[in-house]
Amino acid sequence: MSTAPLPERGGSLTEPFWQAAEEGRFVMPRCSGCARYVWYPEEACPHCGENEIPWVPVSGRGQLFSWAEVKHELYPAYEDTLPYVTGIVTLEEDARVRYVTRIVDADPAALAIDQPMQVVFRTLAFKGVDGEVVAPVFRPSAGAAPGKVDE
């Protein structure tokens, strides 16, 4: 039986991410050959072909690439969380890495593209779905003025 939208656990390409999240760590797969992040995870690095791609800790700082505020029920399991903000954060380590995430602790009207963001761990649970998961989500960085931080 599907546990969506909880992540499926145990997959070799994905489990290290969720295991680390349970321990409060935000990790990303990074190629040991060319040092590029490989997101989404793949068996072989799309940039250099290397198979050794360990999960490494990242700072949890990034910038808001874009977001959407979901106001209407489109998927039953999300119903209890409406309205909510979801979007994409690019990592401080490499802005080419786009991490899809929930945006929490934010007034949607005050969000601005490219504003600094900070990881925070939250337990996610869904209506009609057994179980929960600890997930790295993002909130606006404390004390940071919204808006573009640099060009």
Partner: protein, 403 residues
């Protein structure tokens, strides 16, 4: 328009050039105002019957059927023969259907006709999603939720289903290019302007102007209700044959003048597409226009696969109708309306306002425009284009009047 300028986040397809070889000779649509209670196959048969009548053919003269591999239920040669009581052998292909395949089906059809496998080929597509919705069916979101990386790294965060992707893309497009809600609204309003003048359109009795658009609630901010496609039952059928044969049939032939296809390198992961605010039309349209020997400025009518207003806006830019980021000026002030100078766009109402039949009716609409039979007829309509889209793919079909 050379491929040397192609960006690196995708590539164009290697379709054979069949321009001038094949023509569209029959079109039929089956659009329902509400749940039809019919199966997808029954809906397809309604559309097929109309297309055959439109072409002036007999049911036993159809000897090729093209459909989408994704069409539930599977439409077989026996489905056709049993319904029409015929016994001919039928060449079958899954290179057809709607979305991008509504544009590229003529390539495989031309090859089959050339090789003598078939003479009159029918491309079909139908969905019963409105009826299925009432029965707890899953509809268009289903195909996305099952994908592994989406299941792990998108669904847990609520980045699902499609309206969420495209709202996120729309907001970034607004940031990068200054696109305004009014620009998206102009696309939705143009679709509705045409739908309220079209006998088949599901929203024909629901007029919408820009003020009304802006006043509507957000579905997924920044997309409002009217930025998002309908869900409906419906289908379409398109009959193709050689241009030579087409000239003997009932209706003036509509010639396939150019076909293109483009792919994003990031597959179905919208979040990871190299250029987040573009469509693979960048890789598809140039080749189709080149084959046809025309430029976007020559186009009299354009229909685009438009699940969301932003998808249409991006395709208009990526096909070269204006510079990237410049669609706002092109769509403003009713310039997309059939009776206003500019670019006549989705003159049947599109997925936003006509029906959610995934693009096959878009092709049929261009055919009717080029014949002079459309409900919202564009004057002196000689060149028409359909742009297909499925996210990781785009396609382009340039059609023209015969001679």
């Amino acid at each position: 328009m050379t491929t040397s300028a192609e960006p690196d986040w995708g590539h164009s397809g290697e379709l054979e050039d069949v321009s001038g070889e094949i023509a569209i000779v029959g079109v039929g649509d089956a659009i329902y105002q509400r749940a039809s209670g019919k199966s997808a196959n029954e809906i397809a048969l309604d559309a097929i019957e109309r297309a055959i009548a439109d072409a002036g053919l007999r049911p036993d003269e159809i000897d090729g059927l093209m459909q989408s591999p994704f069409m539930g239920g599977g439409f077989t040669a026996d489905t056709y023969r049993d319904y029409f009581g015929t016994g001919q052998s039928i060449w079958m292909s899954t290179d057809g259907g709607a979305m991008t395949w509504a544009a590229t089906a003529p390539v495989a059809a031309a090859q089959a006709i050339r090789e003598g496998k078939a003479r009159h080929i029918l491309n079909l597509f139908a969905v019963d999603w409105f009826s299925q919705k009432g029965k707890g069916g899953e509809g268009p979101g289903k195909y996305h939720g099952e994908e592994r990386m989406k299941a792990n790294f998108e669904l847990p965060f609520g980045w699902f289903p499609q309206p969420v992707y495209f709202a996120t893309i729309a907001r970034r497009h607004m940031f990068e290019y200054g696109t305004r809600p009014e620009d998206l609204g102009a696309i939705a309003v143009a679709c509705r302007y045409h739908a309220t003048r079209h006998p088949d359109a599901i929203t024909r009795q629901r007029p919408l102007d820009l003020a009304g658009y802006l006043a509507r609630p957000m579905m997924v901010d920044p997309l409002r209700m009217d930025d998002c496609c309908l869900i409906s039952d419906g289908g379409g059928a398109t009959i193709m044959t050689s241009l030579e044969r087409a000239r003997d049939l009932a209706k003036p032939p509509v010639v396939v003048a150019g076909v293109g296809e483009g792919y994003s390198g990031s597959g179905a992961y919208w979040s990871q597409q190299g250029d987040f605010t573009a469509s693979p039309q960048v890789f598809s349209a140039p080749r189709a226009f080149e084959q046809a020997g025309v430029t976007p400025g020559d186009v009299d009518v354009l229909t685009l696969y438009d699940p969301f207003s932003i998808v249409a806006l991006m395709q208009i830019e990526d096909m070269g109708f204006c510079p990237k980021g410049g669609a706002g000026d092109l769509v403003a002030d009713g310039k997309l309306h059939f009776d206003t100078p500019g670019l006549a766009y989705n003159t049947h109402g599109g997925l936003l306002s006509h029906a959610y039949v995934l693009g096959i009716s878009h092709v049929n609409e261009v055919v009717r425009q080029l014949r002079g039979e459309a409900a919202c007829q564009v004057s002196d309509c000689e060149i028409g284009v359909y742009g297909g889209y499925t996210g990781h793919m785009a396609s382009t079909l340039v059609m023209r009047r015969d001679r």
